[in-house]
């Protein structure tokens, strides 16, 4: 009797299974779409072409060009006091100041030496790690060593 009932309802069971699978697919598709829309709306995704800042790049190239002796002396001697005095205000000056209700820095620039440096040194004004906006890297040769100066901007609002 039980077997007969199940036999009679094979069609219904198949249809129900179709609906269960369809529901799961619908929920997955909706969740993914919702996630994409929410991320896009908050602007958390950074497009590759956004990783260029024409104005900052120009400033950094000019600034490094006229301060190349200071950079070299600081790295060789390991004394970064003059270097910090010069580069700290420069890095703050690179940031965009935007005002609506109040005026704030829109992100901050940082500097790091990479490669085999004589002495480790960073200037980190503000960094969130995974929300960096722009990069400006260039190689700086000192005494047969290739040192990379990495400038990068971290996103985030900072009060003046």
């Amino acid at each position: 009797m039980l077997n007969t009932t199940i036999q009679n309802r094979k069609g219904q069971i198949a249809q129900t299974m179709n609906w269960v699978v369809a529901t799961i697919i619908i929920v997955i598709v909706l969740t993914i779409s919702f996630f994409v829309v929410t991320k896009g709306e908050t602007g958390q995704w950074i497009l590759p072409d956004k990783q260029k800042d024409f104005v900052a790049t120009k400033s950094i190239v000019n600034f490094v060009d006229i301060n190349s002796n200071l950079i070299e002396d600081s790295i060789v001697s390991g004394n970064y006091s003059d270097f910090d005095k010069k580069f700290n205000p420069f890095l703050w000056n690179l940031s965009v100041v935007a005002c609506d209700n109040i005026c704030r820095y829109r992100g901050a620039w940082n500097l790091r030496f990479e490669g085999k440096v004589f002495a480790e040194h960073d200037i980190i004004l503000y960094s969130l790690g995974d929300k960096d906006l722009y990069y400006v890297d260039f190689i700086f040769p000192i005494k047969d060593k290739q040192i990379k100066l990495k400038f990068w901007e971290a996103s985030g609002w900072i009060n003046l």
């Binding site: 369809a22 619908i26 919702f34 024409f54 104005v55 120009k58 060009d65 000056n93 935007a98 005002c99």
Partner: protein, 140 residues
């Protein structure tokens, strides 16, 4: 037996409508989240203006184009400023556009002000810090 079959069909119809409602609500929510707020592109616009100005003030090698002053600025930089724009560039003393907009900087959302510094080199290879203020107001 037939009654049992019909009960199943009834539940399935309700389920079908429930799925329709879920999909409709989901799509509506996504559209509202994405398009619900008006786009405010004034900050981006102010940034683009600054990029154009820097491009105009500097030569290809990064040196300063000293020929530009308040009188020839708009012509040399190929800019036409409407009432909703204001530009100020130090140390050139360039002030162009609607002067009144500057007074509203930091006092509300009626204008968006963007300030940016640029380091350029003059003819004698000395650093020149150029301060640019770009203000964009609401289109009337």
């Amino acid at each position: 037996m037939n009654n049992w079959n019909k009960r199943g069909e009834k539940y399935l119809s309700v389920y079908w409508f429930a799925i329709l409602v879920i999909v409709a609500v989901g799509i509506s929510a996504m559209v509202i989240i994405f398009y619900g707020k008006p786009y405010d592109v004034r900050e981006i616009e102010a940034g683009i203006l600054i990029n154009k100005i820097v491009d105009c003030l500097s030569n290809a090698d990064g040196t300063l184009n000293a020929e530009i002053n308040n009188e020839n600025f708009l012509n040399k930089c190929h800019l036409v400023l409407g009432d909703e724009y204001y530009l100020e560039i130090d140390p050139f003393g360039i002030k162009q556009g609607n002067f009144n907009l500057k007074d509203y900087c930091g006092k509300g959302e009626s204008v968006v002000c963007v300030k940016r510094n640029v380091y350029l080199l003059d003819e004698e290879n000395r650093e020149v810090i150029i301060k640019i203020l770009s203000v964009v107001g609401k289109d009337a």
